[in-house]
Symmetry: C2
Subunit: 325 residues, 2 copies
């Protein structure tokens, strides 16, 4: 898909050129550091794809696309402090390489820099882009707080989980796409269809990601298999299992969830996966994910532009789906 490659190259080059300079160096270095750690650059690419879909001028979408990637990395930087994570993409996290105060502050600056980039949109569209961005940024904070609240709650439902991943992950994909559509001056209703497409794809991806954590092969996943089970993460899989489990299975879940003795890791994974097997959890999660993909597809179909214009976005979505399945 030549067009997809062109847009992808555009993002790659623009990201390479993106550099924040200023004093004190201690404040600005972490911004450039976290952005240098790489990543799929999915969100900014979606912005270009959203712009391209509506015949927009790609050049005008580049700066806000970078703004969305800078915002995404700001959330990673602060989330890593909250989670006390030592590593990000195999490298030291900012709060480990520098310290927590500097990590908090350089994250704050990064959010300001994201706004600066989001403002690089012409005329009346700028206000729309900023309103969308404000709403999305607040949503992402809400999703992260829900995720943290879940750790301490015993009454999280699968619906709560879907709401959490919608806010924490999916709305930013919708925002990336819709920002591109707005730059291209698409009709509000068409831009909204594209937003909803992104949100539904995002939920589908996250569900597949959760499945993959348990059932993916280590090399492909690039992290410890079943890390979610070992850390008792309240994913859709675990929550659904708790919802469906009775008798013996419920006893097994209650026995193992909370068990942190690392000498029993293998046993714990096997026990929980055994319950998943009997309750058909993997298939239920996969089906739900596919439902979201299907809903997304219908939303994209409803956007009144010629089929051919949709091909790069479809190709990219397929690529991501393959990666998470």
């Amino acid at each position: 898909m030549k067009r997809l490659e062109e847009l992808s190259d555009q993002i790659e080059k623009s990201m390479e050129r993106l550099h924040f300079s200023g004093e004190p160096a201690n404040l600005y270095d972490p911004l450039n550091y976290i952005l240098s750690l790489g990543g799929k650059r999915m969100r900014p690419l979606l912005t270009l794809l959203g712009c391209d879909l509506f015949h927009g001028d790609i050049k005008k979408a580049v700066q806000p696309a970078l703004g969305i990637e800078v915002f995404h990395n700001f959330t990673l930087l602060h989330d890593d402090i909250m989670d006390q994570a030592p590593l990000r993409r195999g490298q030291a996290t900012v709060h480990k390489k520098w310290n927590e105060p500097t990590a908090i502050l350089s994250g704050d600056l990064m959010l300001v820099k994201a706004y600066e980039l989001m403002m690089k949109v012409d005329g009346v569209q700028m206000v729309k882009v900023l309103e969308l961005f404000n709403q999305t940024a607040a949503g992402v904070c809400e999703g992260q707080q829900m995720d943290m609240d879940f750790e301490k709650s015993d009454s999280v439902s699968v619906n709560d989980y879907i709401q959490m991943i919608t806010l924490k992950t999916a709305v930013l994909l919708g925002c990336g796409l819709k920002t591109g559509a707005l730059v291209a001056s698409a009709h509000e209703s068409d831009a909204d269809l594209l937003y909803d497409y992104g949100v539904n794809m995002g939920i589908g991806f996250q569900l597949m990601d959760d499945v993959l954590d348990v059932y993916g092969d280590t090399a492909k996943v690039g992290k410890q298999v079943a890390g979610d089970i070992l850390s008792d993460k309240k994913t859709w899989l675990l929550l659904k299992a708790f919802e469906l489990a009775e008798g013996e299975d419920l006893a097994i879940l209650n026995k193992w969830v909370g068990e942190r003795d690392t000498t029993k890791s293998e046993e714990k994974i096997a026990a929980v996966k055994g319950v998943y097997e009997r309750l058909n959890i993997r298939q239920l999660a996969t089906e739900l994910s596919e439902n979201y993909f299907l809903k997304a597809e219908r939303l994209l179909d409803a956007i009144p532009v010629e089929k051919e214009r949709k091909l790069p976005l479809l190709a990219y979505s397929e690529l991501i789906k393959e990666r998470v399945s």
Copy 2:
């Protein structure tokens, strides 16, 4: 000063009505909590005064004025985490009342909410207001990082200190005023004069504040006298003393700075104040502060609006000066 009282009441009422609602409560409650702790509301009042100076419609300045106060409180919230401060205006800080992750995240949301409020400005002026706000917000982060860097540095000069307080404190006063001027559609050059007025006043206030920490009476200052000396804070006074001290006085400073034995607090304060006395530090700091006030006065004089329009701002500036002297 009737007009000053009217504007001050307007801010008081608007602050009372300001309430952020949303879910999860854990995320939104800290915003309302920190805003409920009170404060002088100096920055939003400056915005109304800046608007009033140029015959602007005060009602149109209220929302961005609140935005600046929300931003200011966001910086306090995050600074308190960085400084590990247990109390803010005599009440538990957000990270103590909740926890650090929630304090980081609710601060992030607060910055987003500040942007939302700053956007509530009509037409072409909005872009100018946002550009000013972006630049100011980045500056405030830079000032805070400089302040943290100073703690670990042995080569901080009085000029470095002035630069730090300019960024950390003074630019936000300038931004508050200029935002009001922009809402009133003042000429860019006049709005800039008002900005510079605010920055110079801000530096003057901060210098007087540092003097007051050492020489104010406890009841008036509302905090431990000479807390800056006890914590070895690199204020203009201490830096100037190090710059001027020789022989015996330098030996005294070197002996006491870094001494954290609390049983020797009285002795430490007396020793450092003795050096200040011999080197005339209090007077030097006061004179420098007055120079900034004088420069501010000349800038305000240069703004081409009738003298009478300037009276509320002058009255307010006098009020603040009295409080810090």
